[in-house]
Subunit: 351 residues, 2 copies
DNA sequence: TTGAAAGCGCTAACAG
DNA sequence: CTGTTAGCGCTTTCAA
C-alpha cells in the first residue's frame, strides 16, 4: 500500500536563508503560484481577497520577484540598453539622464554600455547587450558597421538610433541634422558680419559632416573666399573634446591665421576653453572674436560672456526614445518611426 | 505496438525566424547542448574537435546565448548595478566610467540607476535592482536608510559602498574620509596665510560632515576667531552643484563679509563659477582670493588660473569596486573589505 | 476568477 | 571528455 500523499506534498522545504520564491509566497498565502504572479503583475485580474493576502505575505517575508526568471518566461526583460561613445564629460548625459528617468517611471531599467570612440569594443558590447535580451536598444548616433546593423536587425530587438538623421535607420530614429546645424551656424556668423570663420571640432564622423556643410555655407555666402574649403580653417582634435583642447585649438588656429574672428566649436566645453584662451591672450569676446558652442550645457549660460550655442534637447531625445521603446514593448503601434527634434541657436553674449 | 522512437525525436522544429537556442546549435553541430554550453563558457573543458564544430555553427547561424536563461540556471547574472544620486554634471562620472570599463573587460555589464538627491526613488530603485539579481551593487555614498540596508543585506548580493567611510559598512567599502578632507584643506589654507575662510557647498550629508571638520580645524588654528563655527561663513546651495551656484555663492559670501580671502567649494564646477565671478567682480585670484575645488575634474588644470583642488581618484574607486565584486562573484576570498583610497590636495594657481 | 501543467533557455550535478 | 537528467523561478496556456 502506498503511503498517502500528504496534504502539503513536501515542497522543497524552503530552507531558511534561501531567497523566497513565488511558491513560498503562494504556500504562505494559501493560493496557487499563478495567483501570486497575477496579484503582483496585474492586480485587477484577481479578487481583492487574494490580492490582500498575497500582499501581506510579500511584505512580511520581503519577497522580491526574480525578474530574470520572469523575463525568461515572458520574453520581456524590462531592460533597455543604451550605448554611448563614452560617458565622461559628454554631451550625451542629458539624454542618458532623461532616458533613465523615463524608463524608471515605467518600471524599466537602463543598461549602460560604452563603445569607445574607435568602435573598438562595439562588437563585444553588442553581444553582451543582445545576450541579455533587452526590450530595446538606444544607440548614440547611427550604427555604421554593416555587421552591427545586421546583428541588431537579426536580434529583433527594437532599436532607436539618436543624435543624427539618416534615410536608412535600422528601426526607429530620434535625432537632428548635423548638416543643417553646420549651415545654420555658418549663416548666423556671416550674417553677424564675421569674415574669417573657423571651426574646432572632434574627429568624429558627425562633426565631419557638420563641418563640411558649415564650410560650404560660408563659402557660398562669401564668394570672395573662393571655392576651396581650406578657406575655412578647421582644427581637428581627438574625441572626447575637453576644455584643454579648446585652448590649444584656438592657439593653433591663430597661429595659422591671426585674423580669425569667429570660431564654431563642436562642444560647449571646448568653446569654454576658447573663451578662456581668448581671455589669456587678451582677445576680446565678442568684439574681436565670436564663439559658438554646441550642446547648451548647464554651465554655458553662466560663462563670461555667456556662450552662444546650439541647443540640442537631450531630454526630449531621451524621453522620446524611451516612449518609442516602451510603446513597442507593449505592443502599441508606433506612428512615426523617425523624429527630428531639431535644434535652436541660443544667442548669448559670446557673439 | 508502439511507434519506434525516431533517432531525432522531433525537437520542436526550429521555426525559421525564431532566435536560435543551444539546442539548435547542438543539433547542427551534432553534440549535446551541454557541450555547446561548455564550449562557449569554458573552452578548455572540451575537445578541440567539438570546440571547432560548435564555433563554426555559432558563427554561421549567429547564435547569441540568452544570458537571462543562463543567469537563472547558474545564479550568476554577470550584471552589476550602480546607484548614483544623479548622473548629470556629476563628479561620479569618472568612477562610473572606470566601473563600466573594468566590468566590461571581464564580461560584466553595468546597470545604472539614479536615486535622486532626495532619496525619493531609492526604494523603487532597490526593488528594481534586487529583482534582477545582479552579482553586485555599487552604491555612491553610504546607504543611510535602515530599510535599504536591511533589504540589501537580506538579498545576499555583494555590496560596495563608495565615496565615503564608515565603521559599519553593509559589506565592502571603497572610499575616503570627508572629515579628513575638511581638516586638510583648512590646514592648507591657514598655512598659506588665509584669514577669512569660507565654504560653498551642496546640501548633502557628506558635505555637512566635511564642512564641520573644516570649520573646526580653522577655528583650532585661528583661536582669535573664537569657538563659533559661524566664524567660518558657509553658503549652502542645492545639489547638484553648478557653475551658476558657484557664481551666486561667491556673491552671497561677499555680501555677508567682503573680507573673505579664501573659499573651499564642494565641486570643481562650482569652484570654476567662483573663479568666473571673481573675474567679473575684478577680484584677483589668488592674490585677493584663494579658491579650492573638489574632484580634480579634467578641466580644472586648464582653468585661469589653474584650480587647486582635492583630487579624488574616481578611476581607482571604480576599478577597485569592480575587482571586489568580481572576486566575490568568482568565489575568491576578499581580503580587505574596507579600502581607503585617500585624496591629495593638488596645488595649482588658484591658491 | 483560479489552478495545473508545461515550458522559457540555460547550466549544475552526476554518470558514463 | 561527453551526455543525461533535472531543475533555476517565473509566466503562458488551457481547463475548471
Amino acid at each position: 500500500m502506498e503511503k498517502p500523499v500528504s496534504k502539503d506534498p513536501a515542497p522543497r522545504k524552503s530552507r531558511k536563508g534561501a531567497t523566497p520564491t513565488v511558491r513560498d509566497v503562494a504556500r504562505l498565502a494559501g493560493v496557487a503560484p499563478m495567483s501570486v504572479s497575477r496579484a503582483l503583475n496585474n492586480p485587477d485580474s484577481v479578487s481583492p481577497d487574494i490580492l490582500q493576502r498575497v500582499r501581506e505575505v510579500v511584505d512580511q517575508i520581503g519577497y522580491v520577484p526574480n525578474l530574470l526568471a520572469g523575463g525568461l518566461a515572458s520574453k520581456k526583460s524590462r531592460m533597455v540598453a543604451a550605448v554611448v561613445p563614452t560617458i565622461s564629460g559628454s554631451v550625451f548625459l542629458e539624454m542618458v539622464q532623461a532616458l533613465t528617468d523615463a524608463l524608471a517611471a515605467r518600471g524599466y531599467q537602463l543598461m549602460l554600455g560604452q563603445a569607445g570612440y574607435e568602435n573598438s569594443r562595439e562588437d563585444a558590447l553588442l553581444e553582451a547587450i543582445i545576450g541579455r535580451r533587452p526590450d530595446g536598444v538606444v544607440l548614440t548616433g547611427i550604427m555604421r558597421s554593416e555587421q552591427g546593423r545586421r546583428r541588431l536587425l537579426a536580434s529583433g530587438i527594437p532599436v532607436v538610433e539618436t543624435w543624427d538623421l539618416t534615410d536608412s535607420p535600422i528601426d526607429m530614429l530620434v535625432g537632428f541634422s548635423h548638416e543643417k546645424i553646420g549651415k545654420a551656424v555658418a549663416e548666423y556668423l556671416v550674417r553677424r558680419g564675421r569674415r574669417k570663420i573657423a571651426t574646432i571640432s572632434a574627429n568624429d564622423e558627425r562633426a565631419v559632416r557638420r563641418n563640411r556643410q558649415f564650410a560650404d555655407a560660408v563659402l557660398a555666402l562669401r564668394p570672395e573666399l573662393g571655392m576651396d574649403r581650406a578657406a575655412v580653417p578647421t582644427c581637428i582634435v581627438p574625441a572626447p573634446t575637453t576644455l584643454g583642447s579648446g585652448r590649444t585649438g584656438l592657439r593653433e588656429l591663430l597661429a595659422h591665421d591671426p585674423a580669425i574672428d569667429a570660431v564654431f566649436c563642436s562642444s560647449d566645453m571646448m568653446a569654454q576653453g576658447v573663451l578662456l584662451e581668448a581671455l589669456a591672450l587678451g582677445i576680446e569676446v565678442p568684439r574681436q572674436l565670436a564663439v559658438v558652442g554646441l550642446g547648451d550645457q548647464a554651465f554655458s549660460r553662466d560663462l563670461l560672456p555667456p556662450l552662444t550655442t546650439v541647443r540640442i534637447d537631450g531630454t526630449a531625445i531621451g524621453t522620446t526614445a524611451a516612449q518609442l521603446i516602451i510603446d513597442r514593448a507593449e505592443g502599441k503601434p508606433v506612428e512615426e518611426l523617425v523624429r527630428d527634434v531639431g535644434f535652436i541657436i541660443v544667442e548669448r553674449g559670446s557673439t
